[in-house]
């Protein structure tokens, strides 16, 4: 199993490296560079040449890639094109804020969706199943900006329970986001529940029809013990990968929801950076998102291996 982990880890690094090359090349291919973005209308003649020399843009592309990648490995993404601020610092707060929002959504969303999926699967085709399943599909199909607007209207404007949008600055301490980010987290939870819930539901249905659940019934195991000991550990295995994708999606910044709620997360920073043509920031965010996807999926694979004895001993070599 250890060699397998190393192989996965190595593959993960290769993936992140490839992403970094593609991003770098993409930025190279774009017309203009950091200097044209900073200088805007003055980007010609001596000013432009001086800026390029100052920023080291005249060096060959390979050398610049090596510089950038080397610094990025140490957590230093350079300075943003316009404000001359440290990117690591700006992005650092935004990552924390996105993490905060994702944690809020996941801590409610994962247990809730597993619970709803299990109930729907156990009472397949009953009114519980129809209610849960169609409710989840409904929540998933409404576009998130519509759901967000409706929630704001309902809870912020009519009922006045929570603020409509987030006004806290990006670098505020985490607790200050508390009542403000609730609506955003609720919208995210609504979107993610349907995916996980439907996966859990179909896998619970499969497992409950399996020979070993029938055997457990005929061994005289009470119903809920069958569900918790025999069925759920097997039924949740296929759900791990769906959960991993959801987690990665949430951690990577959820652009629309952050923009609607004015939430200072990674997604909104990305939108701002793109409209400002702040390419170093775009590069940094993309790298972080790529690394997050790779990391989360790696964790999901390891978790799958740990929870599934068949995979585990298969890879350890004794079948």
């Amino acid at each position: 199993m250890i060699p397998l982990l190393f192989r996965r880890l190595a593959l993960g690094f290769v993936t992140v490296w490839l992403v970094s090359v593609i991003i770098f090349l993409g930025v190279e291919a774009l017309p203009g560079d950091a200097c044209t973005a900073v200088l805007e209308r003055d980007a010609h003649g001596e000013a432009l040449a001086k800026c390029r020399t100052d920023m080291g843009l005249n060096a060959p592309a390979l050398a610049r890639y090596a510089d950038w990648a080397g610094a990025a490995l140490q957590g230093d993404f350079g300075v943003s094109a316009n404000g001359q601020e440290s990117i690591s610092q700006i992005v650092g707060y935004r990552v924390r804020n996105s993490l905060l929002l994702a944690t809020g959504a996941l801590s409610v969303g994962i247990p809730l969706s597993i619970f709803l999926g299990t109930m729907a699967g156990l009472w397949r085709d009953s009114w519980i199943d129809i209610l849960f399943s169609s409710g989840a599909i409904f929540a998933m199909t409404i576009p998130e900006f519509v759901a967000a607007t409706i929630l704001i209207l309902l809870f912020a404007i009519w009922l006045g329970w929570v603020p409509a949008i987030v006004l806290t600055p990006a670098d505020a301490p985490p607790l200050e986001f508390f009542p403000e980010f609730v609506l955003a987290a609720v919208v995210l939870t609504m979107i993610m529940i349907a995916h996980i819930m439907r996966m859990v539901r179909s896998s619970v249905i499969d497992v409950m029809a399996s020979d070993y659940v029938q055997m457990a019934t005929l061994k005289g195991v009470p119903y809920w013990q069958i569900v918790f000991r025999h069925a759920l550990p097997n039924a949740l295995l296929p759900a791990i990968n769906v959960i991993a994708l959801t987690v990665a999606w949430l951690l990577g910044g959820v652009v629309v929801v952050e923009v609607v709620f004015n939430y200072p997360g990674l997604g909104r920073l990305l939108i701002d950076a793109i409209s400002d043509r702040d390419l170093p920031v775009v590069q940094a965010i993309t790298m972080i998102v790529a690394a997050t996807y790779v990391g989360v999926n790696l964790v999901a694979d390891i978790l799958g291996l740990l929870l599934n004895p068949r995979l585990r001993s298969h890879h350890m070599g004794h079948r």
Binding site: D211, Q214, M215, L218, G220, H230, N234, L307
Partner: protein, 675 residues
């Protein structure tokens, strides 16, 4: 019997609601009484309702099934009216179930120890501290080696026979009064099957348990049951003492079923039982078996026969029980078509070795370590045109692996395969030119998996025809119809999909697909083992016919020695991927043979109450071949000593191309043979 029955099933009808909304019965008024210490066999084809009956005895019906009428009385109360808590106490306690496929019936994420402990916790009065000791005790009772280690294993880490033994131990944990066994040994090797049945016989005797065996295999029933009930289309057609039912069956269906079983003693093919049972919900005015019965008259089709006394203690649902004895039920009379002597070569395998473990991308950079011995090693075979070569051996003997290598699905690690005209076959199927592909065709074990469910039969047959012969349009359709006719299916099957065919019909379509390519060599991988015996006999007859007409060369793999015996000209016996014995079928099945062939033949069960298998006491299946010496060294009952562990035995040539790989001289082997 005068004693009170332990389980008393009366007039049980079970059905499901069909698409039209009407109730379609699968069990019709079944009566079954089982007393303490008695073992009853329930026999029938697939779909006869025998498993439903066994589960119903525990008050359990599969999803979608409902009880229509009747009752299952256990301990004075109907199982179907008991509360969930009462059922949970009885199931796994007084009534134990041994499932068909223990590999799937054990929860994959729980260690054996936890699953046994659960059974003990629920049904055993012992304090929790004594559970482990009791679990080890149970595993020892079912003769599992190293029980303490097995407790720590997961189900997939055990072999099929070990899983079955664990399931038996689990059923015994509740100290049951009765065991219900749903095809307890189907899918196991002959040797493992024989051992498990002996174990169950012993347990029944020592614990005075009642046993209900559900099986399609009359050989199993003959070995373990006192009484037999034969089910046909959800209804009991024959009931009586095992000996009487097997010797002088008083129902034409039982007669036909017995005749369709291939036997080692017969030199002709078994007689197939044509037709198939009516589907649930079809008209039941006449006798359900009448459409397939040679004795049927208009009277049979008009009235539903009652159960009547049929002599020798049997009760039969037949109007003419006295005529049954006159039915001709000896083999089909079809003599085995034999391959002409000295015909030219069709296929040659030269010192083939096959490995499953391939060095991964990382291992290549590591220092080379001596790997485990090859899965299949040193296979040299020459097969003349028109011959049927049978490959036999237990699971894991590498017989299917060799077929895959011939087909190019698994490249050999070493050695080469040549066709009769000297063309060397490329190791991988994607490197072979279309003509080579056409010349070798394969038929797989399970037609449900080898036929695409979304293709019609016409599409399935069109593939080889258009691929190898470039046919299209009406000509393609004509040739597809012809291909169907070679397997005795009518043109109206062309537009059906596999889902609309019975198991036997599906396998015929798979055979037709192989023959549509006009192949020289057909590889058959356990092609009858998923079929009922009656259908199996028909498929064997078909293959024999094709062999005679097309002069095709067959390589026929089966774990069933009687099936291989029925069809093969020559037989090769494999153990752990190494050849032990090869020779003409009649010679291999007679003494002298390799000690392993001896073990296999001795374990064969025949549907004959006077036949008992001879078993070795401490015989356990192995998972990998030894590094050197004779592959059979660890299990051999007549092992010589040191020499068997270190030296690869020589081929000893007998008459007619018979060869045995053993250190014991042929003349000595003769004496150790059966007799």
């Amino acid at each position: 019997m005068t004693t009170q029955p332990l389980i008393d099933i009366r007039g049980l009808c079970v059905g499901f609601r069909g698409r039209s909304g009407s109730m379609l019965p699968v069990l019709h008024g079944i009566d079954l009484q089982v007393c303490r210490g008695e073992s009853i066999g329930i026999v029938g084809e697939s779909g006869s309702g025998k498993s439903t009956l066994a589960l119903a005895a525990m008050g359990y019906l599969k999803h979608g099934l409902q009880r229509i009428s009747g009752e299952v009385i256990y301990n004075g109360a109907d199982m179907f009216t008991r509360t969930a808590a009462e059922l949970a106490r009885i199931r796994g306690g007084q009534l134990g179930l041994i499932p068909q496929n223990s590999g799937q019936a054990l929860t994959p994420t729980l260690r054996i120890g936890r699953q046994l402990d659960e059974a003990l916790r629920l049904h055993c009065a012992l304090p929790a501290g004594a559970h482990t000791a009791r679990a080890i005790d149970l595993l020892t009772q079912v003769r599992l080696p190293d029980p303490a280690a097995i407790l720590r294993r997961y189900p997939h880490e055990l072999s099929g026979g070990q899983q079955q033994r664990v399931a038996i131990a689990m059923a015994l944990a509740g100290e049951p009064d009765a065991l219900l066994l749903d095809e307890p040994t189907t899918g196991l090797d002959v040797t493992t099957q024989a051992h498990i049945l002996e174990l169950l016989r012993d347990l029944a005797r020592t614990r005075n348990m009642a046993m209900v065996y559900v099986s399609h295999d009359l050989g199993v029933i003959a070995r373990v049951c006192d009484r037999v009930q034969v089910l046909y289309a959800g209804e009991t057609v024959l009931e009586g003492p095992t000996r009487a039912v097997l010797k002088t069956p008083a129902h034409p269906y039982a007669r036909g079923l017995l005749a369709s079983i291939p036997r080692l003693g017969e030199s002709t093919l078994p007689r197939a039982l044509e037709g198939r049972p009516p589907s649930p919900g079809s008209d039941r005015t006449g006798c359900a078996f009448a459409p397939r019965c040679a004795l049927a008259t208009d009277h049979c089709r008009a009235i539903h026969p009652p159960m009547v006394q049929g002599g020798t203690g049997q009760e039969s649902r037949c109007l003419y029980p006295e005529q049954i004895a006159q039915m001709d039920m000896s083999g089909s009379g079809a003599p085995l078509s034999c391959c002409p002597r000295n015909s030219p070569l069709a296929l040659a395998l030269d010192t083939i070795a096959i490995r499953y473990d391939r060095p991964g991308s990382f291992a290549r950079f590591m220092p080379a370590r001596p790997g485990p011995p090859a899965t299949v090693d040193d296979i040299t075979l020459t097969i003349p045109q028109g011959e049927t070569l049978g490959l036999v051996g237990e699971s894991g003997s590498g017989k299917s692996t060799i077929l895959k290598t011939i087909a190019g699905l698994l490249p050999p690690a070493q050695g080469r395969i040549t066709l009769g005209d000297g063309t060397a076959l490329a190791p991988r199927v994607d490197k072979r030119p279309p003509d080579q592909l056409r010349r070798i065709q394969m038929v797989f074990q399970n037609p449900d998996e080898s036929l695409n469910p979304r293709h019609s039969v016409a599409d399935i047959l069109a593939q080889p025809l258009s691929l190898y012969f470039g046919l299209a349009g009406p000509e393609l359709r004509r040739r597809a119809t012809e291909a169907l006719e070679t397997v005795r299916l009518g043109a109206h099957y062309l537009d059906r999909r596999p889902g609309q065919l019975s198991g036997g019909e599906k396998q015929r379509v798979a055979i037709a697909r192989a023959f549509a390519a006009a192949p020289e060599i057909v590889l058959c991988d356990e092609i009858t083992s998923a079929l009922d015996v009656s259908v199996q006999a028909a498929v064997l007859e078909l293959l024999n016919d094709l062999k005679a007409r097309h002069k095709t060369t067959f390589v026929f793999v089966s774990h069933d020695l009687t099936v291989v015996h029925a069809l093969s000209d020559r037989v090769a016996v494999l153990y752990q991927g190494r050849l032990c014995e090869i020779g003409p079928s009649a010679t291999v099945y007679a003494a002298p043979s390799h000690p392993y062939t001896e073990v296999l033949l001795n374990a064969v069960l025949e549907p004959d109450p006077d036949h008992a298998p001879h078993l070795l006491t401490a015989d356990v299946a192995e998972l990998s071949p030894p590094a050197c010496g004779c592959p059979f060294q660890r299990r051999c009952p007549v092992k010589l000593g040191q020499r068997c562990d270190t030296d690869t035995p020589p081929w000893q040539k007998g008459a007619d191309g018979h060869a045995i790989r053993c250190h014991i001289p042929l003349s000595e082997l003769n004496k150790t043979g059966r007799g």
